[in-house]
Symmetry: C2
Subunit: 163 residues, 2 copies
DNA sequence: GTTCCTGCAAAGGTTTTGCACCATA
DNA sequence: TATGGTGCAAAACCTTTGCAGGAAC
């Protein structure tokens, strides 16, 4: 499997810093819908906000424990599922890898992924023409389309050089 | 999980009929690369050619057995892996579902997927403008992009009516 | 005849579930 | 205080691996 320590980057190269806005919105949403924010849930939210998302469930649990908080694996899975159901996280599925969870930010602004099939490094991108084309296809489809995922596969520069 | 009995359809609604061209190419490719075509491998190839692909490994095994041929599950997984490595199959990963395998036809002509998040029904589509936009993004990316996957998510007409 | 494929069974890795205890609102 | 969240352990699920026997070339 891929190197899980690798954080997702934007194409310009810099990481997101702690997204406290997302964390607050998540906590508010939970409370508004009658869910409680116990230790595991709030730890998951805090961690994802700080790491910027795009992590596997196991990574989330591991990092929470590295920070001295103990958490049950099952509770992490349950928290991630709930946050996904509430539309606060997006699940990214790739072949040969566990699902990754990403922050969903409000306003429909979103991104897509370029994944290195060698090492799993993931870079984010967004493109207006692509979105326009997707919107047009969605309009014409018989389905009521609510979301879309685009993943480019290839090799990152390090893996190209190594080959 | 989704209803596995549902075959993939094109947007115009008709199924592919047995793709003997693909089957012949697969068998030729195996033999050219020094692989043998034993019972399990040829059964997998034959079944996929007839069903048109987009199936889970377990479905493939099940259908082969329904046709009276006995096959080991492990052999089905091994055959699917090999065919993927040889570029004869494409792996489609979705959250909450096992990987599905699809026929890869020569000439680069390919399609993408619209999946019903309710029942798992999958419809294929292709769009030139979308491909052009993807090509442009790929050209500009730091990665050497070799492939791409696009999946639209939503609800099919039956599930819309049921809701 | 040799090599490789196959099938079974067992193991591996990820995710879910059951249940008793405990914390949140 | 009542409800629902948490953690542990066990199970479920999908996929891979080990190995002995058998088939393909």
């Amino acid at each position: 499997m891929y190197d899980r320590a690798m954080p997702a980057e934007t194409e310009s190269g810099h990481r997101h810093s702690a997204d406290t806005g997302w964390a607050h919105r998540a906590l508010r949403e939970l409370s508004q819908r009658g869910y409680r924010a116990g230790g595991a849930r709030s730890a998951v939210i805090e961690l994802l906000a700080e790491e910027g998302g795009c992590m596997e469930a196991e990574d989330v649990a591991e990092r929470i424990r590295e920070r001295g908080r103990s958490v049950g694996t099952a509770s992490v899975y349950r928290a991630l599922s709930l946050l996904s159901e509430l539309g606060l996280l997006h699940k990214l599925a790739l072949p040969e890898a566990p699902v990754r969870y990403e922050l969903v930010r409000p306003g429909g602004e979103h991104h897509h992924h370029i994944v290195c099939d060698e090492c799993g490094k993931t870079v984010l991108f967004s493109d207006e023409r692509l979105e326009a084309a997707i919107a047009e296809v969605s309009r014409r489809a018989a389905f009521e389309v609510q979301a879309h995922d685009i993943t480019l596969h290839g090799h990152c520069q390090s893996c190209q050089e190594a080959a």
